[in-house]
């Protein structure tokens, strides 16, 4: 599955190119020999198979983990959808958003409010509401994106992220401010699942595993849809727009429409991720949705690799375990968690990682790995 923004493999012309190789003064020209590519014959089927296999493995493994691990992995998977949305926005349409934490928050609130208000609503219905709410917020914020470029847009989204806290306060009759909302009527695992892992329906382990399984399935679905979008006509148009917007306009891409679409898709992903997070966390606190959250999402995307599916998954995994790792690091260094340094360690590490990644490996983990592998392959193919 090819998911780098700069892959030329999707171009049918370059898959059968002339390979010109110079060796010992002679020039070898091979015509019409196809290059080895990772492109599958039926890409959609291939993506579907990969997704189904990946989700199945996750589902089986979720039965062997503890309740806490299941919970961590579920939050990580939900966050990976949010990261994927931002990755699409930045890596494909070339726009930077520092406000995706806002769309995430809108999804969280929409899920909690809808499921509390419509007491007999099903989980899929709540998730759809969260996604739509996120998409609508993305539409509102994204409309100015038709006129704004790069730093202007980033500055506007940072102002949106800062003002979201004030809006939560303003609508505290709905959001309940820092006291937060509890999601009523927690979901329960079905009997067969509890029977399968040999525990009762109401046990925390069964509940946690069922929640994680729902999140894994939805995450798989979201990644499958986004992978198809990445390689679709729309996705290619957006990549062209990122590389050269004038050229894109000349070949008939409507820039304003493409820019807003990218924003809406990205925000819908963030809303869905927020809904899933609320599903497993069952509480929403207003203080969660500050500027730091948006920056954390950006950090995770950059570390994983901008515009990469596998990078988004890595970012989600990193998110799931970062808190545990940092807590271990703090106790390992002998710092008290209540001290100033201990409480700020999380942000210090995230900020430093962001800077280091940009300076040393701007392609992120996924992009750098791909780069190293392709260079090794090229060396291996032409040994001189």
């Amino acid at each position: 599955m090819s998911d780098t923004p700069r892959s030329t493999e999707s171009d049918p012309v370059s898959s059968t190119v002339q390979v010109r190789r110079r060796s010992a003064g002679r020039t070898l020209v091979r015509l019409g020999q196809p290059l080895a590519t990772t492109r599958a014959r039926h890409p959609v089927l291939w993506r579907l198979t990969t997704t189904v296999i990946g989700v199945s493995i996750a589902l089986v493994l979720s039965g062997t983990f503890s309740a806490f691990t299941d919970y961590l992995l579920a939050t990580g998977a939900a966050m990976s959808i949010v990261i994927l949305g931002l990755s699409f926005l930045t890596g494909f349409s070339g726009q930077v958003s520092l406000g995706n934490g806002v769309f995430f928050g809108v999804g969280c609130y929409a899920f909690a409010l809808w499921s509390n208000h419509q007491s007999n609503s099903s989980i899929p219905e709540d998730l759809v509401v969260a996604t739509i709410a996120g998409a609508l917020a993305g539409l509102v914020v994204g409309l100015p994106a038709t006129r704004l470029r790069g730093p202007y847009l980033a500055g506007m989204t940072i102002a949106v992220a800062i003002s979201f806290g004030f809006l939560i306060d303003q609508f505290s009759t709905w959001t309940n401010g820092d006291q937060g909302i509890n999601v009523q009527g927690q979901f329960t695992a079905p009997g067969w699942l509890a029977h399968l892992i040999g525990s009762s329906v109401s046990s925390p382990r069964a509940t946690s595993m069922w929640g994680a399984d729902i999140v894994f399935v939805v995450t798989g679905l979201a990644f499958f849809l986004m992978a198809n979008l990445f390689q679709s006509r729309k996705g290619r148009a957006m990549r062209l727009m990122r590389e050269n917007d004038v050229a894109a306009e000349l070949v008939g891409v409507s820039l304003p429409a493409a820019r807003v679409t990218a924003f809406v898709v990205s925000a819908a992903c963030a809303g869905l991720g927020g809904g899933l997070t609320t599903l497993v966390a069952t509480t929403v606190y207003g203080s969660t949705f500050n500027l730091a959250l948006s920056i954390e999402i950006l950090t995770l995307m950059v570390i994983g690799g901008i515009g990469s599916l596998s990078g988004s998954l890595l970012g989600g995994l990193f998110y799931a375990y970062s808190m545990t790792w940092i807590a271990q690091l703090i106790s390992g260094l002998g710092i008290s968690t209540s001290s100033n340094l201990g409480s700020q360690m999380n942000n210090i590490i995230f900020g430093a990682l962001l800077i280091i990644t940009v300076l040393v490996a701007p392609l992120g983990i996924a992009g750098t790995t791909r780069f190293v592998i392709s260079r090794q392959l090229a060396r291996w193919r032409s040994p001189n």
Binding site: P151, A159, I162, T299, S343, F350, G351, I355, L359
Partner: protein, 299 residues
């Protein structure tokens, strides 16, 4: 006359001036860096807070306020210079997103480092000025010795920066290296040094803004205290087009007054959303700001 000067609207204007000059200074700092290096410095607020903490932290050691205030300027300049040399210089000529991401990372890092050294609780700074408002007869004029000090400091600083750029040889070199770096280099201007100096000036200006905003009666220094003024300062500068220093200053003052009106007549929670709305409306009508000419893009 007295009744007019103490009326609700004039009080709002006078109240808004303090915030306004702070936004103006932050906007001025952003414009200085943007013109020279085409980078929007998202970490400016955090760098300024760092400068203010370094300078005003000395208050704990019974150093007089004036010394702390003066020292916070070179402290901010030092942070700005270091940032340019170590972090920004490798990023010139890279894709647009790289400096944005790096600056956001720096913002996060500096706020966290400040919090880990000095704690996140508010540190109050009491300058040697009374915060009691002047009286006009029985009515209150919404100006105090403190706010007069705050406003005049900001305006003097802005004028000094303007004079530096307008009338000195150094200012000419700074402007030249921002407009035409290659030609300036051929003519013997140390362009790299000028860029560093531009960053230092910008952060020094912003440090003064941080000291002003945190020296009020109820306000104080907090690590994230400059986030709001940064957003407002960016909006002021962007409305002016990110190119015009005087536009940023005027825009900042107008924004501060507007925010005071929104606080008074509507709701303090809606201040930033409303200012954001102003930015969006202005940029929808004039995408390159109010004070700049439309630049024709070369394909």
């Amino acid at each position: 006359m007295d009744a007019f000067l103490t009326s609700r609207n004039v009080s709002d204007i006078l109240n808004g001036l303090v915030n306004g000059v702070v936004f103006g200074l932050v906007g001025l700092g952003l414009v200085l860096i943007w013109r020279a290096t085409r980078i929007l410095n998202f970490a400016l607020g955090a760098l300024a807070t760092g400068g203010a903490y370094l300078g005003l932290g000395l208050l704990s050691y019974n150093v007089p306020f004036w010394w702390c205030f003066v020292l916070s300027i070179p402290a901010g300049m030092l942070l700005g210079g270091l940032t340019e040399r170590l972090l920004v210089r490798p990023l010139y000529g890279k894709p647009e997103i790289n400096p944005i991401v790096a600056m956001v990372g720096l913002l996060f890092l500096i706020e966290a480092v400040i919090g880990s050294v000095w704690g996140t609780q508010q540190r109050s700074i009491l300058p040697p000025f009374s915060y009691v408002d002047f009286h006009l007869g029985a009515n209150v004029l919404k100006l105090s010795p403190l706010s007069v000090f705050q406003i005049s400091t900001a305006l003097v600083l802005a004028l000094a920066i303007g004079a530096l750029f307008r009338f000195t040889n150094l200012g000419l070199q700074l402007r030249a290296s921002a407009v035409a770096p290659e030609v300036s280099r051929l003519l013997g201007v140390r362009v790299g040094r000028m860029l560093t100096l531009g960053w230092m000036l910008s952060c020094g200006v912003a440090s003064v803004a941080a000291v002003i905003i945190s020296s009020g009666f109820i306000s104080g220094l907090t690590p994230a205290g400059m986030e709001g003024p940064f957003a407002a300062g960016f909006i002021a500068a962007a409305v002016g087009g990110l190119e015009s220093p005087s536009g940023a200053l005027v825009g900042g003052i107008a924004l501060g007054v507007l925010e005071q009106f929104v606080t008074d007549y509507f709701n303090p929670n809606l201040v930033l959303p409303y200012t954001l709305l102003v930015l969006i409306v202005v940029l929808m009508i004039r995408p390159h700001g109010l004070f700049t000419r439309q630049v024709v893009r070369r394909v």
